[in-house]
């Protein structure tokens, strides 16, 4: 235990004095969470769509709501077309004769199809004599398995776990760089000559970084809960089951540490470790729905996304944060992460034995 304590202490001191490493682990994901939660808030939330009605001004008030905001009507159809072309209005409903349903919709080409469809439905509802608001109220809707206060995939609910996972996998950089420096400077050889077994050296490295990963998780959730709303975004809704959140973080950490250790053992230079670890993480993030949410990807890409361990980790976090799931809901993602972590650790052991110090 004394030897392990010495290894842990060394690792803590070394990391606490590595300002770049700390910035990568804590500042980078915090900054991403704040920026991306705010930047994508419209994509996840109610996007405000400005529309105008020509020829039947009183209809505008009826169609407004649920993200559709009525703007003052342009003087004529040509002005309406110009307003749409310039992007000032997303939709202009030109009514010639409402009683005979003689109307035409001018549409901004950048308007997403679902929003266009939603507006068309509102117009059709109004044309049939019903109020869109009353129609929606009469439509019983239940969000299934929502965590307390969450209920839907908002920008902050997507971005906090996503960039937290991204930051956790970045332990690869400080972990591998110190290991490579130890090997390059002969420190590792000295430790082996001092009869420090390799599994003990690994335990000395993995335990501190495991705790760092958990600290990252706690701090990033705090950023989502406090900093993002302070900056004008939505607050992260936290689940009642903190233990499950910790389980998701722990399983993610196992995979991240396995990856970090394999890069540490496999890379021969600091440059190699930075490129392999950094680029590997960025690719896994791009594929796994960290940078671009999976639901906006085409179906084929969504299937490819299933290959990324970051996607598994995101599934685990979403199961808790979004769906308020129990342990069974996390199990598939957690098992995949644990299996990957074990496989990567085994590969690192094998490679180390093959290469020696």
């Amino acid at each position: 235990m004394r030897r392990l304590a010495a290894l842990w202490t060394k690792e803590w001191i070394a990391l606490s004095r590595d300002l770049h490493g700390l910035a990568v682990l804590f500042l980078m994901p915090a900054a991403f969470i704040a920026i991306m939660s705010l930047a994508l808030s419209d994509t996840f939330g109610e996007r405000r769509v400005e529309f105008a009605v020509l020829g039947k001004p009183e209809l505008a008030r009826q169609l407004a709501g649920h993200g559709f905001r009525a703007a003052p009507a342009p003087p004529d159809e040509a002005a309406g077309r110009d307003a749409v072309r310039r992007g000032e209005l997303a939709l202009v409903l030109v009514v010639k004769d409402w009683s005979t349903s003689d109307f035409r919709l001018l549409v901004d080409p950048s308007l997403p199809q679902p929003l266009l469809f939603a507006f068309q439905m509102r117009v059709l509802a109004a044309a049939s004599g019903a109020s869109p608001a009353e129609m929606l109220q009469a439509f019983p809707t239940e969000v299934v398995g929502a965590a307390s206060g969450a209920g839907r995939l908002s920008s902050v609910q997507q971005n906090v776990p996503a960039w937290l996972i991204f930051g956790m996998f970045f332990v690869v950089l400080p972990l591998s760089s110190l290991f490579i420096v130890e090997r390059r400077d002969g420190t590792l050889a000295r430790l082996v000559a001092q009869r420090v077994p390799f599994p003990l050296l690994l335990a000395g490295k993995l335990a501190p970084y495991f705790l760092i990963n958990l600290a990252q998780a706690a701090l990033m959730l705090l950023v989502g809960r406090s900093v993002v709303p302070w900056l004008g975004g939505e607050a992260l809704a936290l689940p009642a089951r903190w233990d499950l959140l910790a389980l998701a973080a722990a399983c993610t950490s196992v995979a991240a540490l396995g990856w970090g250790l394999l890069v540490a053992v496999g890379a021969r230079t600091l440059e190699q470790a930075t490129v392999i670890g950094g680029v590997g993480n960025i690719l896994a993030a791009a594929l796994g729905g960290i940078m671009v949410p999976r639901f906006v990807m085409p179906q084929a890409m969504q299937r490819w996304a299933e290959l990324s361990p970051m996607a598994w980790a995101l599934d685990a976090f979403h199961a808790v944060l979004l769906r308020g799931g129990a342990g069974a809901a996390l199990a598939p993602a957690c098992l995949k992460l644990l299996a990957l972590g074990a496989a990567l650790l085994a590969a690192a052991f094998w490679l180390h034995r093959r290469r020696g110090v």
Binding site: R2, R3, A5, A6, L7, T9, K10, I13, A14, R17, D18, R184, D185, G186, T187, A189, R190, L191, V192, A193, Q194, R195, V196, G356, V357
Partner: protein, 230 residues
Amino acid sequence: MLKIASVSFGYPRTGPVLKDISLEIPHGAIFGLLGPNGAGKTTLISILSGLRRPSGGRVQGDCRAIGLVPQELAFYPMLTVRENLRFFGGVQNLGGARLRERLDAVVAFARLEGVPDRRAAELSGGLKRRLNLAIGLLTDPDLVLLDEPTVGVDPQSRAFLLESIAALRSPARHLLYTSHYMEEVQAICDHVAIIDEGRVLAAGPLAAVLGGAASLEEVFLGLTKRRLRD
């Protein structure tokens, strides 16, 4: 007596590095191991320290603790001198009073009293070499392997290091010393071996190896020829 009996070793890509090396390192003596670059000195030290296993032959001896002082500055530059010493003591299972006692002893031995709280990265070249030596002596080892411990230091620091190494001579201890500085070896070693291309060219007490030659350098160049090495 530490016996190296018919030890051979080869790397997969470069082929044999040590070819049937046999040496005897007596207690209480400083044994100088000489050889040009690539002769196999560091590989032999790796085998003695347990980092590599010989492909043939064996090492016989009863050593309680091995102190390796590698050619590289093998410590943590971001840690202070004291933190480095505490760490290397801790991983060798030293703790409590024993660790404090050994830490004080090696700090005094390597004359590091003025710098225990300075980060290792900030030390001068000579102080770094002394810290490297101090770490190797933490367990009061009975086999000390010194791989070119005076590389890159000024004459004062080198003189201090040589005096310190000479002071390590003890009846219960084996000391193996490698260097490219012939005058150093001639000054502090009792026994020497000259190896080249993985073979022992000469070995024995210093006087016997010197024979009638004026200096060890003359013997060394005579045996290893003047051909440049990679």
